[in-house]
Symmetry: C2
Subunit: 192 residues, 2 copies
Amino acid sequence: MNCLEERILKDGVVKEGNILKVDSFLNHQLDVELFDEMGAEWAKRFEGVEINKILTIEASGIGIACVAARHFNVPVVFAKKTQSVNLDGEMYTAEVESFTHKNKNNVIVSKKFLNENDKVLIIDDFLANGCALQGLISIINSAGASVAGIGIAIEKGFQSGGQIIRNLGYRLESLAIVDGMDPATGEISLRK
Amino acid sequence: MNCLEERILKDGVVKEGNILKVDSFLNHQLDVELFDEMGAEWAKRFEGVEINKILTIEASGIGIACVAARHFNVPVVFAKKTQSVNLDGEMYTAEVESFTHKNKNNVIVSKKFLNENDKVLIIDDFLANGCALQGLISIINSAGASVAGIGIAIEKGFQSGGQIIRNLGYRLESLAIVDGMDPATGEISLRK
């Protein structure tokens, strides 16, 4: 069991509606020492894979990506989310629809920071239905860059996002896969 | 001249309207090695100051704060920005009005992550008129916590935010203070 899995079992809180609250260490208060261990774990799993850039998305992905990037010695680019359509032509944009929030967002990256030579590791905090991730992949494809791999902190294994990404042939390394949660008992089942 | 000042002179781009574009290393593409050097510099400047938490604000502050936090061995909390008023009682909230964008935003931190024992170092990427910073200070005061110091990457010395904060008696350490910019020549004047 890795450091993140241990922490989820210790400090994760299950709420009604398949919600796993990890705001005490992952996405509001941030345990950067844990992020460093997560970065080391991804570096081990992606050893030998050519990676020259990490792509993440605001806001919760940024801290994890930046601390992890120290293990890869590459810069981070974070995609911006906006509902605005006030964009000039110097941006890659993907419109993604959220299953959870029922709204549409643009995922945006400046063309200056992605090109056809980039081998990109995507890092994000959560993978559930995978909308944000689909937008990031779309943007990497638009730039002619390639997806070297995908590192997710917590995958909700009972939602479809992870399976779709694996079906598409991407290498997805989730540090913890939650297969089930019980709000009555607070029990969290992690995939072995 | 520190690493950030050198980088601003090398890669900062001046645009009309007192805009300094540093998106190639500070707030869109992120040079995490530079962030690490910035963290080391703040650690040196705040040596001997009791700090047990770093507070920043989404989105651009998060990466800088997380990498810097490795030099302080403390967790990071990031404040959320939202225009929503759908808040329950478990949040500290400050309403701040942006001089730049003419809109009002809420700055929000869960009550779980700030309390009267916290000695907080605030970190953010930019200080101009200081609206976001004023909101963060207001939230720290609401929690009964104390502001141990403020670390800013780039202060626009020709706008009032930094002076107000110093007048209020806070210890503000800006790694680079821009005193003037010329969009015609691209020249950037840094305070010595």
